[in-house]
């Protein structure tokens, strides 16, 4: 067992972990952050994406011991005082999710993408999400959600009016 200290979603915890423990398992099983999920074992699907030290990483492809001393943000740390992160809001608004299993990783990667490039083109959005698989949405509305969060779509109020 190795002692690690991780600041996850604002709270600092110290725990003993086996060195082989993957960060995603530490988050889920020891910190109870089950919003972050495992979708594959080859790092292709990106469902486990969190922010580690401020950048998106695949938490199933990082050992918990490697995150010792780091700041981790999961999807559960995005909303503040009941207010959703704009990307979370955009995912709902644009119907960018169906079963929701890839969604938390997809949101975390989308946020990273926009942090890096606040005005991405459609191509840049698509290639920025190439590390995240979704089986439900065909990506169409995920791309729209990122565009919406980037302020590239008509405001949702306008959409609402045009549809009602």
């Amino acid at each position: 067992m190795t002692r690690i200290t991780v600041t996850g979603d604002g709270a600092t915890d110290s725990d003993d972990v086996e060195p082989r423990t993957l960060l995603v398992h530490y988050l889920r099983e020891q910190l109870g952050k089950t919003g972050t999920v495992v979708g594959c074992d080859t790092s292709n699907c990106g469902a486990c994406t969190v922010h580690l030290g401020g950048r998106s990483e695949k938490s199933c492809n990082v050992l918990a011991v490697q995150a010792d001393g780091a700041v981790v943000t999961t999807v559960e740390g995005l909303a503040h005082d009941g207010e959703l992160h704009p990307v979370q809001e955009a995912f709902r608004e644009c119907h960018a999710l169906q079963c929701g299993y890839c969604t938390t990783g997809m949101i975390m990667q989308s946020i990273d993408l926009l942090n890096d490039n606040p005005s991405p083109s459609e191509d840049e959005i698509r290639s920025g999400l190439e590390g995240n698989l979704c089986r439900c949405t065909g990506y169409h509305n995920i791309v729209k959600a990122v565009q919406s969060a980037a302020g590239q779509l008509p405001s949702t109020d306008a959409l609402e009016r045009s549809n009602s």
Partner: protein, 284 residues
């Protein structure tokens, strides 16, 4: 899946790392970014007794100017390489290749040194390193040695790094004013390249003065397309001339056959991709 049990140590200096490696011999496995190693451990295809994490050795991170070469620390992440101005100016084909390597999350953790040490023949950094005559600085208990790119990639997943050694940095001779392109062919974006071509060319007055061409996934190691390079020298940067030079790109290669294509298809593909890479690099 969960890896088998292992011990873990995270040295903070190269010396400390080497001493741990010396102690454990072939029971130790070095982890850099771990983006290729962790899936292997999770599938239990490898079960080391101890994992030596280089992630806490700050000296191995970063890109620096060293006169006639730039030096990429082995633990510099792909993302840092991608955005590094020195790399962009002097080794632009590396920038081009790393931009297409894996996906953003992997680029945030994966490292330059880790990727080249893993020596996957489909890895994106071998061909540009080879094309640019990169040198690999390897530290061992008896000191450091420098290995030329031609000698670094030994075989499938095998490099000149011996047991007990670690790669500390990669030196790339400066080539300013060169055009570069990395032409990568995949079926889906998150795939390893079926074939890729790294091309760097120095064009003056419409004539190719010098050319460097590296091939990805055309054999058990990255390969240098020397016949293409020499055929390009002195040629105009036109479709016709480059097409003729690129036609020899498959010479001396031994590409694999797999679900994405057989060897014959790859031998054809590499000629097309070489032409496109060189033309794009030449700005034609």
């Amino acid at each position: 899946m969960i890896p088998a049990q292992f011990d873990y140590v995270a040295p903070t200096s190269v010396e400390e790392a080497l001493s741990v490696l010396a102690q454990h011999g072939d029971e130790a496995k070095v982890i850099a970014g771990g983006q290729s190693l962790l899936p292997v451990l999770r599938m239990r295809l490898n079960a080391p007794e101890i994992v030596v994490d280089l992630g806490r050795i700050d000296a191995l991170r970063g890109v620096r100017d060293d006169g006639d070469a730039i030096v990429i620390g082995a633990m510099t992440t792909h993302n840092d390489v991608l955005h590094d101005p020195l790399v962009r100016e002097h080794a632009f084909v590396v920038t081009k290749a790393v931009a297409q390597l894996a996906d953003p999350q992997v680029r945030h953790r994966g490292t330059f040194g880790g990727a080249v040490s893993h020596a996957d023949p489909a890895g994106d950094l071998g061909a540009p390193s080879l094309a640019l005559d990169a040198e690999f600085v390897i530290a061992g208990r008896s000191g450091t040695r420098t290995v030329a790119a031609d000698d670094f990639f030994v075989d499938l997943f095998a490099t000149a790094i011996e047991e007990g050694e670690i790669l500390t940095e990669v030196r790339i001779p400066k080539r300013s004013g060169w055009g570069a392109h990395y032409e990568k062919f995949v079926r889906v974006a998150h795939q390893w390249p079926i074939v890729a071509v790294a091309a760097a060319v120095h064009v003056e007055g419409g004539t190719i003065r010098e050319a460097r061409v590296g091939l990805t996934n055309m054999g058990s190691t990255p390969l240098r397309a020397r016949s293409v390079e020499s055929a390009l020298v002195g040629q105009p940067a036109t479709d016709e001339a480059v097409r003729a030079a690129a036609a020899t790109a498959a010479e001396g290669t031994n590409p694999p056959s797999d679900l994405n294509g057989d060897a014959d298809y790859r031998r054809h593909l590499v000629t097309v991709l070489t032409r496109r890479a060189v033309l794009a690099a030449a700005g034609a």
